[in-house]
Structures are given as C-alpha cells and as structure tokens.
Symmetry: C2
Subunit: 173 residues, 2 copies
DNA sequence: TACTTTTGTAAGTGATTACTCACTATAATG
DNA sequence: CATTATAGTGAGTAATCACTTACAAAAGTA
C-alpha cells in the first residue's frame, strides 16, 4: 500500500462520510488526496471499488468491537459490555461509522457473519438470564445501541448520565 | 395543486427515499411521474425546492404524531404513547420517514420547533415521575424511539414482543 | 368572444460525471 | 546493466447532470 493509495482512501472516507457517496465525485477525491484522478482507477478499478476497499478496511475494526463483547462469558457482563459500545468509539473512527450508518438506508444494514454471531451471543445472554423473550430482547438491545450510537455520532452528548440511564433499565448498576 | 404536480411529488418521494436524493436525477423523476422534465422546474424552481416541498408536506404528519403525545397529561401515559410511536407509522408513510432518516446524516437531524416541544414534554414527564436525570432520560427515550423506528423501517419485525420488552424496561406494563 | 394567466412540452444549454488512454517516472529483478 | 512490472500523470471521452428557453395548449376571466 503506497502513501498516495492511503491518501486516496483517507480523503474518500472523509468525503463519503460527510457529503455522501454519490455527492462525492472522483475528481473531488483526487484533488483532496493530492493525486491525479486516474490513479484512483488504477488502484481501485472504479468508484464502487474504492468504496468497497474502505468498507473492508473498516470491517476489521468493527469485528474487534463485536469480538470484545462475545468473548465475555458472564451474561450480565456481556450485556454491560455491549451497552458500552456506543461510548468506546474513538473520535478518529467517527467518519467510518457515519459512513456505515448512512449506507444502511441505501444499501441495507451490514449483514456479515460477525454480525450474526454478535446477535446470537446477545440472545444467549438473555436466555441465560431467563428473560421471557430473548430474541426480542436481542433485537431491542441492538436498536438501543443503534439509536445511542446515532446520538453519539451526530450530537455532542454527555456520555456518563446517558449510560447510567441505560444500565439502570437493565438493572446492571 | 394539479394532478401532475402531485405525481411529481409522489415519484420524487419514492425515488429520494429508496435511491437517495443525489442519486436521483430530475429526468428520472420526470419519467417516473409521466411528465416533462421542465414541469418540475416550473412548479418547484429547482431540485432543492422539490425536496423542500416534500419535507413541508410531511412535516404536518410528523407534528401530528408529536402533538398526540404531548397532549397526554399523565406522565406515565405520555411515555407509553411516545414509546408506541415507532409502531403506529402506517406503511404508506415509510418512504417519507426513510427519507427523513437518510437526510439526518447529510444535513443533520431535523430541529424544528415542534421537535423541541416534544423533547421538553418528555423531560417534564420524567421530572414528574422523579427520575434522577430527566434530561438524560429524555435523550435516551429519543434514542430508543430512533433506533426502534430504524428497525421498523428497515427490517420486518414482530412489533408486539419488541414493544413488550421496551415497556417492561420502563415498568409501564 | 377576446384577453390573460397558468400549465405543459421539446429541444436545447454549459458544466460535471465516471472512466479511459497514451504516455512517463520509478522501482524491482535477473 | 537491461528488462519488466508497477506507480503515476494529464488530457481526453461520451454520457448525464440540473436547469433554461421558446413556444403551444388549456383554463380562467372580462
């Protein structure tokens, strides 16, 4: 991976996240990355290929988050870990997650293998805790993580009081 | 409002919601609405004007939802009403709400007057119920409505078990 | 009926789009 | 050193973009 190749990826991620994929032209990316427009196509075939490269690049990060939750054995601890997720995203990853959340509405939610394992591990935690409807509970906690992450990415909030409210609902405090 | 004018609004809403605003060309809208492309500009000045017309058109709907919650006096009943919101959206409004949720990431969340009143009425309900941090609680319930609405709009879920889980967390059952 | 306003169209406009091509500079390899 | 593969450029391409303009049909109004 050359330096210019990295510049392209960085510039494209920032532009895709802030202005949207279709509103970002390849010429704008090239200008922002300080390379010729042709180089984008040499390295990434086309605009879609560039987007996919960004997505693959970030998938490793997201898998780490999911794994850090799944490896926790104690069910209560695992839920605690899951509910912390929105608050442990480092701000230099915000652009990537904004991109993910934007793409959801045009291309559907990301549904790779790791995501399924994550969902199952949550459901299993609720089963072990004898919740009445573990599947629905897993769906809800996913929705909460989703909604809270949206708040974190779009507004600037005070994490602590919000997290306290969440944990109280699940009696994890 | 002519029939063709309505056709344009309907076609544009559907295309904007499913493919995104910037990926939808005015010629595509015209073709889908069965009118000449020029008519779009006669009636709505430009593409942005068309989007604004759609948004104003839908604001009445959203205000009705918020008002139906705010007019409830009893705080528990009001929270109950608010948490029902994601499940009372009729499916013929899905396109509009998908559009709203998409735009959030490019143009920021919609922040009109009615939204502020809604937020305050939720905070006040938590105050009356003597919650420790009403502001954070209002933020959380907003995030939950947001996340659950996302699930409703993007996946097909069973509303009842999910709603049950939510109400149990707030001891509203 | 005569006149004005509104609604609608078809054929344009220049600018921008994603992408290609011919070519050069650099680096790796035998 | 000679050869070959890779990295990089800049000037193209046709297609599409949002939008305009000139003009006709329709509808309202006196």
């Amino acid at each position: 991976m050359t330096e210019k190749q990295q510049n392209i990826l960085n510039a494209a991620l920032k532009l895709f996240a802030t202005e949207g994929v279709t509103s970002t032209s390849t010429s704008k990316i090239a200008k922002s990355a300080g390379v010729s427009e042709g180089l984008i196509f040499r390295h990434f075939t086309n605009k879609e290929g560039l987007l996919q490269a960004i997505l693959e690049n970030g998938r490793e990060k997201s898998d780490e988050y999911f794994n850090s939750v799944m490896k926790v054995k104690d069910p209560k601890e695992r839920l605690l870990m899951a509910l912390h997720l929105p608050f442990v995203i480092p701000s230099d990853e915000y652009d990537f997650w904004r991109l993910i959340y934007t793409l959801k509405w045009q291309r559907g939610p990301m549904e790779h293998e790791g995501m399924d394992l994550f969902r199952n591990s949550l459901r299993q935690a609720f089963e072990e805790l004898n919740y009445a409807n573990p599947t629905a509970e897993a769906q809800l906690i996913e929705a909460i993580i989703d909604g809270v992450t949206t708040e974190v990415l779009l507004k600037d909030i005070y994490p602590k009081p919000l997290l306290d409210c969440i944990l109280e609902k699940y009696k994890l405090k």
